[in-house]
Point group: D2
Chain length 305, copies 4
């Protein structure tokens, strides 16, 4: 992450602001504001603004005239109840805005979540920086042999070295040529909207991304999951830390009911009931396919999975 | 609007809050926070929270590290440019949350705007108050004879009196019976989720409604329009005042390009060009139907319309 | 449900249509097309149009050039995999359009699901019919004493009779007065957009409602649930039957993984693992609150719940 | 566009289907079904499915029991009225599904329109084809000197040749290296989800894209506009042709009121009124900024612009 002096100064100036407001303020997230939390080699996540706190969830759920809080215990209980029973609208009453720098191939996964507001840096209008994601050696993995859309063991030795060399060299050459094409030195200079097509998907872009808490939780459930690609998961995990500081009750409920929980199908639920009663259940007697049974086993007995 | 003592106290307590925050603060809207602005006989609009200001629009449009503002003139120009060219995402970077009390038939129109977050008071869970919208005499109008979905002249005399009498009497009787059915005094008491069906559409409900500025402008364009039903327009107009205090540059651009402007069809644009060149254009030579021509005339020559 | 002769004729004419098309056709739903399936006393659900079938889900998941189907078993397996792993976009590739007649208080719950397209009968423009939902005696229940937003035992005897009498009398009188106010016989006639406010929430309205299969499943999961209010659940259950005829593989996966399954929180999952290993777990040793434990017990041992 | 034999066969098999259905059928679009309309050098647009026709718009607007059509003239008039007055929901009642092959940098612009359903070819799961967009010589332009996000004159001579050479060489080398990295010949083979980051933004991807007519019109208004980048505009223009065949009345209204019309701001409307009355208006007396005046001139007097 290379913040230049101007950028660091601008961020510091924003952090030095102290406004007085009647709005509810969430102390736990104030300290995050504007700071660039590094993610990957050149990326970052910055909290730019937020609306609401844990109490804003219960306030809306109760359609209150005042703050909407009762006892702390009562509020936490209500938030857990709302999460458990899939109430979504009270969580939509909190909103957060991020400034994120991320590789284009990560941005392409990210944007599939449509229920957010986005302003991306325009490569039609501006020139992209010479910044490319080059994975750390421990994150260069082979294609998985069990999961068609995952990765397996870390590559080592010459093969890993070749991969790194290719990624660096191709990025660098493509960027040199990007610069050469748009240069107006002794030539007209190619339009930026065309030149950008020569840049590979590990080039960094950046955007403002604003989302409500319900939809953020949905994003985090899918992207902080162990099956998500590492390069987006690392952003999601950093966001989990930030959200835990912002709305601790809501985050705890989310961790318990979504991130850390499990979904049982009707046949799986039937098997659980039988197993608790002491019955010996096998895949053959489970009513599940082999794939479903394997995932079920991993859920109820993670040690043997 | 009948705020009881508890409600007034709760609102005053919120208004007396003074928090320190690093977030951008929009001074013009701070004074509105929590205050109940009366609308219709028992309704209100209260601003509960907001995110962003005019500068947050340009900050996102520029994907800035800092505040994203340049000169005031430059910022205003950019906001007008974005509005003129139908850029929507920068305006989505501002968000506002309202607490609104409104008649059910207004709520039913309102909710057709789907791109907002809503938590409504639950009449399954709670008991509705005895509050009904009874129009002021000057807002009791006849069915329009020119517009099938509008209203015409104000009703007067006995007819107006009969209408008022009916609305008051029926509301009152329906509410008496609602109370009688749910009462647990000497009987089991009907479930609230059933009893509510006896209440007419002028009963008041309330909700928390949160929306981004782009979608709020879309709502206001349709509902602050002269063709909107008076009972929702009066809410929209109050919101226009609030938004003008919150984001004055954006509101001015909205007023110039949306509220106060006009849309020309291809044939209408052709007519305008011919008329400016001095040509005499009639409906027959305009390429427009009679209805389109009438609306066109009202646009370019409102005095004769 | 009172279809008049004109309506029945129009429906029959549509059913008699036989068009030739290159589009995929789902035989199981063709027979439903246009037929009005009665729901409640005057309501109905009619399928007006649909797009796609089970194969359209796998076709999109595979981004196929052709039909996208492989063996039937393979397709069903893929659909179950997609459902199990919360893939939403392939299910969005199927779309269905309904014409629904329903009481206003049901419509108000329904419309909270925002991800659908709606055209409702306009009471600003048209006159509503004299049709009100009057519950059958077995669906007139007391307020629940355990669940603040549910209903308990069926009311009986005089109390039930009083409720029925009130609902009928108030509906009838309100409608008489609605008609009297809009009448142009010897008076100007009140604008329809105003007169409608005198009608209670059990009056019937109707709308066209179009939704994709993913969002329909989300609606059905919440509204075909035993905790949903009976008057909306009965619509959801009829839709379940229709969807099962339309996309049988997808519906079966939905029934197994959503409707009939269960969600375990992290502490609940931990308890299940311990119980399967033979450990005796009580609320005190579960890490769950009393409310959570009660719901957990109901899930794993429904007989004792 | 290189359809291989399998793909052509699959498409032909689908085109040879003839199903009987009760659903409304739009004859004008049936002939488009499944055919791959070439766009750019390797891209295409294929219509996969559709729901509704012009009559489906009026049927929903009228909430009809039957087809919802009256006279052809009446229907067309209603559709024009709905378009003129910004009614959106009746147009949402038609739906269309495309299979589209397009360069990644075009896909990145496209996906900013969030109100559509998308299934994209997964480069985590599958291997991308060796197909890159190389602009035709007449579409290689210099950066515009008047519009920061547009292109100016066509590049010629050596500069154009250099650009072409770079785009071809870099694409080719990056793809060679992509293949080398994922190869499992004598090595483990890099995970596909990582290897894809080496591919430049002119590589082709493909997706299923499903959208309702209202949101499609919104997309087309922005992307078939002369200010849109050529590489996305050419897709939008092909879609315009298809939509004109599908729903001719709605398309004509769209062309008249959106594509071919113009938006006047409040000051611009005031100027038009004054100019029609014969007044001489200049930028100084217009109340507009220079930029607004220039755009206004271009609208009312395109010949001198």
């Amino acid at each position: 992450m290379a913040l230049n002096t101007d950028q660091s100064t601008e961020i510091q100036e924003q952090r030095d602001q102290a406004h007085t407001t009647r709005r509810v303020t969430a102390p736990g997230i104030e300290d995050h504001l504007y700071t660039a939390h590094q993610v990957l080699d050149h990326g970052f996540i910055r909290v730019i603004d937020y609306m609401g706190d844990d109490a804003a969830i219960t306030q809306a759920a109760r359609v209150s005239y005042g703050k909407g809080t009762k006892s702390v215990q009562n509020d936490q209980g209500l938030i857990r109840y709302l999460m458990r029973h899939w109430h979504s609208t009270p969580f939509e009453m909190c909103e957060i805005k991020f400034h994120i720098k991320l590789p284009v191939f990560v941005a392409r996964q990210w944007i599939r979540h449509r229920t957010a507001n986005v302003n991306e840096y325009s490569a039609r209008y501006s020139i992209l920086d010479r910044e490319f994601y080059i994975p750390a050696p421990e994150h260069i993995n082979a294609q998985s042999v069990v999961n068609n859309q995952g990765r397996g063991a870390t590559l080592e030795g010459e093969e890993a070295a070749r991969v790194l060399e290719i990624l660096k060299t191709d990025s660098s050459r493509c960027y040199d040529n990007y610069e050469a094409m748009i240069s107006q030195d002794g030539q007209q200079g190619l339009a930026r909207e065309l030149a950008r097509m020569n840049l590979p998907a590990n080039v960094y872009t950046q955007w403002y991304w604003k989302v409500d808490l319900h939809n953020l939780f949905h994003f985090l459930r899918l992207r902080a999951d162990s099956h998500a690609q590492y390069e987006i998961r690392i952003y999601a995990e950093k966001m989990c830390e930030i959200v835990a500081d912002w709305v601790p009750f809501a985050y705890r409920a989310f961790a318990d009911y979504r991130l850390g929980g499990g979904q049982l199908s009707a046949p799986a639920l039937d098997c659980v009931r039988r197993m608790i009663r002491g019955e010996d259940v096998s895949q053959e007697t489970s009513g599940m396919s082999k794939g479903e049974w394997r995932e079920f086993q991993a859920l109820i007995d993670p040690d043997t999975a």
